[in-house]
Amino acid sequence: MEIAIEAVGLRKRYGGHEALCGVDLSVPTGTLLGILGPNGAGKTTTVRVLATLLEPDEGRASVAGYDVRDQPREVRRSIGLTGQYAALDERLTGRENLRLIGTLYRLGRRAAKARADELLDRLDLAHAAERQVKTYSGGMRRRLDLAASLIAEPKVLFLDEPTTGLDLTSRLTLWDMIREQLAGGVTVLMTTQYLEEADQLADRIAVIDGGRVIADGTSDELKAKVGGERLEVSLADDSDIPATVTALRETAAAEPVVAQDSRTVSVSLRDGLKTVSEAAAALDAAGARTVGFAVRRPSLDGVFLALTGGTTSRER
């Protein structure tokens, strides 16, 4: 399989703070790698290094076959970047913004114009094309920003938290655009704070924390890493907890986990459905008053919390 984005041992230090301490990534052509991680984990720094905005102190990276340090110009010709803050000129209209960027990509004025019109249509911005961007809503800005990064039909797309702060409709529109790009063979590296987003779009996910990749794999692999399916029993009253724990202990491999405040007892399933029926029978025999009985797959949130040790917002 061809590799479109590769990073080996990327390090970046700001003063005494080490933003990246050896990031390794590898993204096959035509796939999407989702990068998850708390604030300040190094997601944006990684994107900025790969998009040639920052030089790494150590390590090397190649994008679309070009070295980011030695061939930045070639890298820039092959990529599109959508940043965390929509980088547009407020005082230009949507159409003028796209034409300007198309011209600076050296598409030629006529091609830039045609491509701008096409993207305005596809991203449902044609009605606002003649308005200054300062009048745009957050969702419209993000769509225009994405259009700007698509204008030169890049082989590799970097999306840094493309949907942060967007409403559901705008998010779905962006997701559709991203899927379309993937179908067309574009390689995408996307950072996000939304686990659901990574679950929906990503072929593989890398979890970054403290400047290094602490886990990577498909969404299913990551979920399996923190344990398989769990049986979750919620109870009517605190007094039922001890009996329930005893009943479940017999059927499951590991010690049941009690969540006092939600009155739930959960346990990982040793043997699939068989364990479920055994557990149900045992609970019935113990006379526990259950109000909920469910088998759950771990969510990516669970994975994330387990991997990062609960630090969802480690600000610098």
């Binding site: 040639t52 920052l54 110009r73 990529i79 599109g80 940043g83 980088a87």
Partner: protein
């Protein structure tokens, strides 16, 4: 080279659209200088008299020079704005020429300086200001002013890249431009100042530019005629000073652009 020209012209187009769409920007190079010419001319004109010339004619070179100095703030604010809202990041991710961003910005601000000069010349003319050394020398005077304006734009670009925020830019520009204009011959003849202050003002580079413009416009006074070296030979001194400053500031600003954006 062709690519550089194409990048610069695309970016200059962007700045020209700003000029039309941001009224404050246009007002700062039209209404502001007009107000200076009228207010200073009338106000100071009634209190200050200069030998051998009328004060309003004498003042014009000072106001022209002061307006060119304010280019520092204009450019610095624009550059800092682009840095903080992510536009610079976008530009840096494009396969465009890196120096084109600052070249386009400074050329656009030079256009602002041209507009300011024309406006002030018209208002000055209406208030009785005339040039007395002929068309070519007057043109040379405006050329010198625009050279100063262009140099100040590059200095402003450097300041904007280093200071990064509008607040910091404003206070730096103010602290730079205020003493440079007021401790000079821009608004007052230096003959009456105490010795040490006169010496300070005469060696202020701004005095050289103002004196050069007065010479080229023929708005000189019949004062003592003595003075420090820069005001004795104002035209060559101004040209050399602007040239040296430009030669120092352009590479510094281009370097700062590379580093400032790389964060």
């Amino acid at each position: 080279m062709v690519e550089l020209v194409s990048d610069v012209s695309a970016l200059v187009g962007r700045h020209m659209k700003h000029l039309v769409r941001i009224p404050e920007k246009l007002l700062s190079v039209t209404l502001m200088p007009v107000a200076y010419v009228v207010v200073f001319g009338v106000l100071f004109g009634s209190a200050i008299s200069v030998p051998g010339s009328d004060y309003r004619s004498y003042l014009m070179a000072g106001i022209f020079t002061q307006m060119m100095l304010t280019n520092v703030g204009n450019t610095a604010l624009g550059v800092a704005g682009d840095l903080s809202n992510g536009v610079v990041d976008r530009f840096r991710s494009l396969p465009m020429s890196r120096s084109s961003v600052l070249i386009a910005r400074t050329l656009s601000d030079l256009t602002l300086a041209v507009i300011a000069c024309v406006t002030m010349a018209i208002v000055g003319y209406l208030m009785g200001w005339r040039v007395h050394e002929g068309f070519l020398k007057a043109l040379a005077g405006f050329g010198l002013l625009l050279l100063l304006g262009y140099t100040m734009a590059w200095l402003g670009a450097l300041i904007g890249l280093l200071a990064r925020s509008a607040e910091a830019v404003n206070s730096i520009a103010f602290m730079l431009v205020m003493p440079l204009t007021f401790l000079s011959n821009a608004f007052i003849p230096l003959d009456g100042l105490p010795g040490w202050l006169r010496w300070l003002c005469e060696w202020n580079p701004v005095s050289a530019v103002v004196a050069a413009c007065r010479e080229l416009f023929g708005n000189t006074t019949t004062g003592t005629g003595k003075g420090a070296f820069p005001v004795q030979y104002p035209v060559p001194v101004s040209l050399v000073l602007c040239g040296l400053l430009l030669a120092a500031v352009v590479p510094a600003a281009v370097g700062a652009y590379r580093r400032a954006a790389a964060r």
